[in-house]
Structure formats: C-alpha cells, structure tokens
Symmetry: C2
Subunit: 121 residues, 2 copies
C-alpha cells in the first residue's frame, strides 16, 4: 500500500455518512467518513467501533449519555451498545472496525450503505 494522507483523501469525496475504505489491518478496515446531521440509532452486536475526529465536531449519543469529540479526540463504541452519531457541522471522521461491520448495524434504514458499496479511495 501507499501511505495515506488524511487531508488528501477527505478532498476526494463529499457525500455524508458514507464511509470510504483507506486501509486494512488485521481483519479490520480503516475508513473515512464525513458527517453532518444525524445517523440513525444502531448497534453492532460483535464489533467495537473506533471514531477519531479529524475536523469538525461529533457528538456520539448513547441512551444515557453523550460523548463530545473535537479534532484529535477518539472514542471506541463497545460492541452491543446503541449509539447515534450527530454532527452539528461538517465533520471528518476516521473509523476503524472489523471488515464484517454493517454500517448501521442491526438497523437497516434509508441511510444504510451496504458493505459492498463502501468503495476504496
């Protein structure tokens, strides 16, 4: 693989809540996504999900709390925990999660991007 420059990769797409693949390690994918507004409530039964905010601001809502992430901050959502990402401004996010992770977990919604539609950039 080549090295990945995050700024360069984020310049290649504009769609929202639509993860792009930029790396793979140990059966996980590294993905980049832009967030704006809300993604639907969901959980992943068997996969922890790593969120690092690169720019903007991300609030990860849980049923009993909100984790607020600014650039340079990350949070790992444990497997099985319901969450809803909310971005009040356009936000650049690096995600790491197992290859089999479904975009919106066990919830299929209009926002869901199928694994096979998550393309490499």
């Amino acid at each position: 693989m080549s090295k990945v420059n995050l700024t360069e990769k984020f310049s290649l797409f504009d769609d929202i809540w639509s993860p792009k693949l930029v790396g793979e390690l140990n059966e996980n994918y590294v993905k980049l996504a832009k967030g704006l507004g809300e993604l639907d409530w969901h959980s992943h039964d068997n996969e922890d999900e790593f969120f690092l905010v690169v720019s903007g601001h991300l609030d990860i809502h849980f049923r009993d709390a909100v984790i607020a992430l600014d650039p340079g901050e990350f949070y790992i959502v444990p497997k099985g925990v319901e969450h809803r990402p909310v971005a009040s401004e356009e936000t650049e996010i690096m995600l790491i999660e197992p290859k089999e992770t479904l975009h919106t977990g066990s919830s299929q919604t209009e926002q869901t991007v199928a694994i096979e539609d998550q393309t490499w950039i």
Copy 2:
C-alpha cells in the same frame, strides 16, 4: 471508557519508543508512543501494524524503500515485513496493533519493552 484526547495523553509521558495503552478494540490495542532516533529493525510474523503520525516526522525504513510520514499521514506495515522506524525529531505516533504484538517483534533488543510493561495512561 472515557474519550481520549491525544494532546492530553501525549503530555503525560516523555519516554521514547515506549508505547502506552490508550484503548482497545476487537483484540487490538490503541497505543501512543514518542519516537526520536531509531528503533531496531524487526518484523511481526502475524500482525499488521498501523502508524499514524500526530506531530513530528517519521521515516519507516524497509529493506528496499522508505515511507516518510508527516502529521495526518498513516501507513500500515504488513505482517512479516522487516521495518525500522526512524524519527529525526521528537515525533508523536498513534499505533494500532493486535494485543499479542511484541514491541520489536521477533528481535529482542535493549530497546524492547515487554508487553507487560506497556502501561495504561
């Protein structure tokens, strides 16, 4: 877990080439390390290793190439590939690798930090 602020975590330690644990996901650890000078040549038989440069500059030497990483750039060293990280200035690095990954792989050197000595911060 709480969220992790990278700047805050890097302020908590000064030792060089000595990874600290800051997160775990899917049988991998997220680690922070400061680099300066060279770490010994080594490889990891079964583990891919993710390097993201947060500040400074990291050259990852391979037997036939060098990958130069500035802040906001990452590279994934594939399993089994010999490499030597070199930092010409103090450099902050976020690593992600399987929990069983040995610091300097199959090479045991004076620089090696045993897994049980890689502490949480």
